[in-house]
Amino acid sequence: MSAVTAEEALGREEALVRVEELTVRFPVEGGHRTVVDDVSFEVRPGEVLGIVGESGSGKSITSLSLLNLVDDPGEIVSGRVLLDGKDVLKMRGTALQRVRGADIGMIFQEPMRSLNPVFTIGKQLIETIRAHEDVKPADAYDRSVDWLRRVGLPNPERVMRSYPHEMSGGMLQRAMIAVALCCRPRLLIADEPTTALDVTIQAQIIDLLLDLRDETGMAMLFITHDLGVIAEVADSVLVMYGGHVVERGDVFSLFDDPQHPYTDALLKARPMPGQRLDRLPTISDEVRRIAAAGVTA
């Protein structure tokens, strides 16, 4: 289907998660709209795969599909998500619950609203650990404190007793990362984890995620519309438009030598520091049409 890049031909390491021909559609008046169309990719252990695309390009739905979390009325029509050779999309009940949290963790765009406002951070960490592992409350507590320290929160014992409304967005995103990682998932899906944060906090969170990747060896699926962030974190990149993967490749070749006209246009549409323009270039309808058709360069 999509462009086979040099990078793909080179590294044939065993994939951690392999997504095959994933198609998701939503009912619209008088039919269906396919929001993720025949998407395939794989994430290798320790790899950071970035997914970029504008709003509505299907990147979030793709990531939710990995956890079989597409809500009604959305429908995964076809495809497979293979984790350890098992299809996550066919899992039900406890098997699915084990994958969620224990094998694949996820963090969201809005840390302020991703933690339950009526519980302390500590309770939410301990509950998550104990939902997946048979450990004593005291051990779960120690592990929670340890994780809060690892995500760089000062005074973790105090944070354990804090409610989400007592903390700032940056602190909450760190706490959320601790909750997502406390059962040592092998893949972390980060769905625009820095969009709601200001720029300095953004940089801190990205550094933290990369450090934790190095420490734990987990893979990451990093979803964003910020090409600057992608350049910083990702090893390889998937560019999505209209539910299609229009380009994939390693991060350097993508930025230096975009193959698809949409990627090219997307890169050109970024404002550059030091460059004065009356107007930013926009993406022409022609390019959009090519991208939407799923034709790759």
Binding site: G53, L69, Q109, V118, Y163
Partner: protein, 324 residues
């Protein structure tokens, strides 16, 4: 839905913003002071600082003591007949006089309070249980389950409560149940007509809360559906639940009194405030024996007013958005 990462579909409401917000430094302050107060403790302390809330709470506690402890202290059992002093005006021995059989009105008033308050609270608990479980299930699962539950609720709500109660009570009267088990029947009747409005309210909250990112997060973390519904969703609905529970206790007490007044609820020899007030139906009692029907009226007034004022203040503390 757009696939661009905008997971946040609705501006889900956040009940805890209420209690939390006025004290952004509460955590720091109480940490310095040593022991940390919980969110509940903090809200309760704030509640007691409102004069109306503390006065109504005091009135409620008084009515509870009056009804549940009082009868032990008057020296009468409330059902001993003493015909020579029937319908006697209040004296030192009988502070609120005696009724047509010479029974002590004060003691009967207290016993009536026991029954009225018990029925009010029990019917509230039962309709709260029904309403909360059905409301959460309807809101969380949606679809056909939601439709069935809410159509039954609509059906019950579309019929005015009191006529429905009267019809049901009249049917039950024909079955000749004995007076003491009538009390339980009244409880069941009241909760049968009480749960739909609670279920509807809770369903509405659940509908907006289930879209909150932290509910998605709970799912992503692999928590089971039951745990998500009852351990994560329910506590978020709790402030609202407490408020409506309080207010529905008042309407429970009132409906019971109305039914008993009409002779369809609690019937003699059991006393309830409603059937005591029905003495006013008798012209002679109304004109000459005011101590038979004024005290239960006053007791009912104090109780209902106190519950309603307290419930209103509770709502101010827990749910500032509902303030007018």
């Amino acid at each position: 839905m757009s696939g661009g990462g905008e997971l946040i579909v609705s501006q889900a409401v956040d009940p805890e913003i209420g209690p939390g917000q006025p004290h952004p430094d509460a955590g720091a302050r109480s940490a310095r002071g040593g022991r940390r107060r919980s969110l509940w403790g903090e809200s309760f302390a704030r509640l007691l600082r409102m004069p109306a809330a503390s006065i109504s709470l005091a009135a409620l506690v008084f009515m509870l003591l009056f009804s549940f402890v009082g009868p032990l202290l008057t020296g009468y059992t409330g059902d001993e007949l003493n015909l020579p002093i029937a319908n006697h005006i209040p004296t030192m021995d009988h502070p609120l006089g005696t009724d047509e059989y010479g029974r002590d009105v004060l003691t009967r008033l207290m016993l009536a309070g026991r029954i009225s308050l018990t029925i009010g609270i029990a019917s509230m608990l039962l309709s709260l249980l029904l309403g909360a479980v059905l409301g959460i299930i309807a809101g969380y699962y949606g679809g056909i389950v939601d439709s069935i539950i809410m159509r039954v609720a609509d059906l019950l709500m579309s019929i005015p409560g009191l006529p429905l109660l009267i019809v049901m009570a009249a049917v039950l009267s024909e079955l000749k149940v004995d007076p003491s088990s009538r009390i339980y029947i009244v409880m069941l009747l009241l909760s049968a007509i009480g749960w739909p409005s609670l279920a509807r309210l809770i369903r509405g909250q659940v509908l907006s809360l289930r879209e909150a990112p932290y509910m998605k997060a709970a799912e992503v973390l692999g928590l089971s559906a039951a745990s998500r519904q009852f351990r994560h969703l329910l506590p978020n609905v709790m402030p609202l639940l407490i408020v409506v529970a309080t207010l529905s206790t008042a309407s429970g007490v009132l409906s019971e009194s109305a039914l008993s007044f009409l002779g369809l609820g609690v019937v003699p020899p059991n006393a309830s405030w409603g059937n005591m007030i029905s003495a006013a139906n008798n012209l002679i009692d109304f004109q000459q024996h005011w101590w038979l029907w004024v005290p239960p009226g006053v007791a009912l007034l104090i109780t209902i007013a106190a519950i309603n004022v307290f419930g209103d203040r509770l709502r101010d503390v827990f749910d500032p958005r509902m303030r007018k």
